[in-house]
Subunit: 234 residues, 2 copies
Amino acid sequence: MGDRREPAAPKDPSSDIFRMERPAVAVDVVLLTVLEGELQIALIKREDDPYYGKHALPGRFVRYDEPIETTARRALETKGNITTDGIYLEQLYTFGQNLVRDTRIRTISVVYCALLPSGIISGQQGHTFSWFPIGRLPPLAFDHRDIVHAAVERIRTKLLTSDIIFHLLPEEFTLSELQRACETILGRALDKRNFRKKAADVYDLQDLKLSRREGAHRPARLYRFVRLRDLTRA
Amino acid sequence: MGDRREPAAPKDPSSDIFRMERPAVAVDVVLLTVLEGELQIALIKREDDPYYGKHALPGRFVRYDEPIETTARRALETKGNITTDGIYLEQLYTFGQNLVRDTRIRTISVVYCALLPSGIISGQQGHTFSWFPIGRLPPLAFDHRDIVHAAVERIRTKLLTSDIIFHLLPEEFTLSELQRACETILGRALDKRNFRKKAADVYDLQDLKLSRREGAHRPARLYRFVRLRDLTRA
DNA sequence: GCAAAAGTGTTTGAGGTACACCCATGC
DNA sequence: GCATGGGTGTACCTCAAACACTTTTGC
């Protein structure tokens, strides 16, 4: 925040910040999870114009005394009826070019991307989101389709240089689950041996010395994420 | 911008967007240029509290009917008395967590990064910025020091995957000038042969078949940037 | 014993890094 | 002729990609 106060007699009306009309600020959230082997997004069906009946990102206006990340969590809690403790949130971009995106009022929208561990959304238990695979989105309100694609692109590029994938997995997971989650996000298959080499290289994983028996095959070892390895090699 | 309208009887006060008090929105700009062989930033000395006498990023409050990028250009024009035609602008991040960053009013700040071609700032002609090498910043107001570093980091990472470097160069340039600009931003020396190979690989440069004579040595060829090559090889 | 997923190494090619000399000019 | 920056090619090394078989379980 820069020097925005004028010396004595402000000629610029925007310097009289207490009297000038202010744009509204909203936060919209791209909430993603892995569901049924697909990357899916939480949407809300609009019940008002504009874009009546279309689906949209969950969003809220920012209160005067509210950090914007709190607005993001509140959007998820009030629109989706979910708890946001421990949910990963990352700011994506701020949309403030188009003056008439919201026809009611000039709105600047800060978009966040959020990741929900798989397994939390099991059925239709209480939450009010509709979930859609990002490859088969319904018609969306505003420019939300572009926003969703930008969010997915961001998550993709951060996959192997950050720990975001573990925000989409349960606490304990197998290497195959880790790989499937990555494949789901990237939208393509990965080589198993190369993937495991790379994962062991960039992630510090704790071998829990346990195995999970499921199905008629060899049980898989369980792991827990410890930390990202420092690969800067400075 | 999501579905923020309530059906009938809004219990959530933030839904009554017309009556609730709104945070102010500001735009601050990290304006960078290459000056005297160093990457330098334009700062303004504050003449009010808080942070009286400290340097700060040029910034302005966003007017109700103004796209935020326009606010960014207006900040540069009114604070620095420069024209912003053709100046590269890229949104960096939006700071809205800290409720008391600006003690006058709750302010959410959208930060832009701007690049000024070298050679435009020649002396002390009219503009009111103070220029500082990013390695030797004066004490800065607010958390502007962190913002500056985030901006420089962003520019660095985009160096060889985008055309931003050409926004810091004049229209016509030599390969040595291109290399020096990159070295200035990265803060380290680059190998001349490897740099030229890489540049020819990622950039489509037009050889102007001209050479610039300067100094007691072989003249250098002049080039013009045409476009980024597509290296995705899909 | 067979179906089904878990687990494991080696080879190859591309791209990045390191490195030294001749060229054209001004003085 | 010498000082100054302009301009060029090769060897090595690292990392990503391709690729197939054995192991352990449930039934």
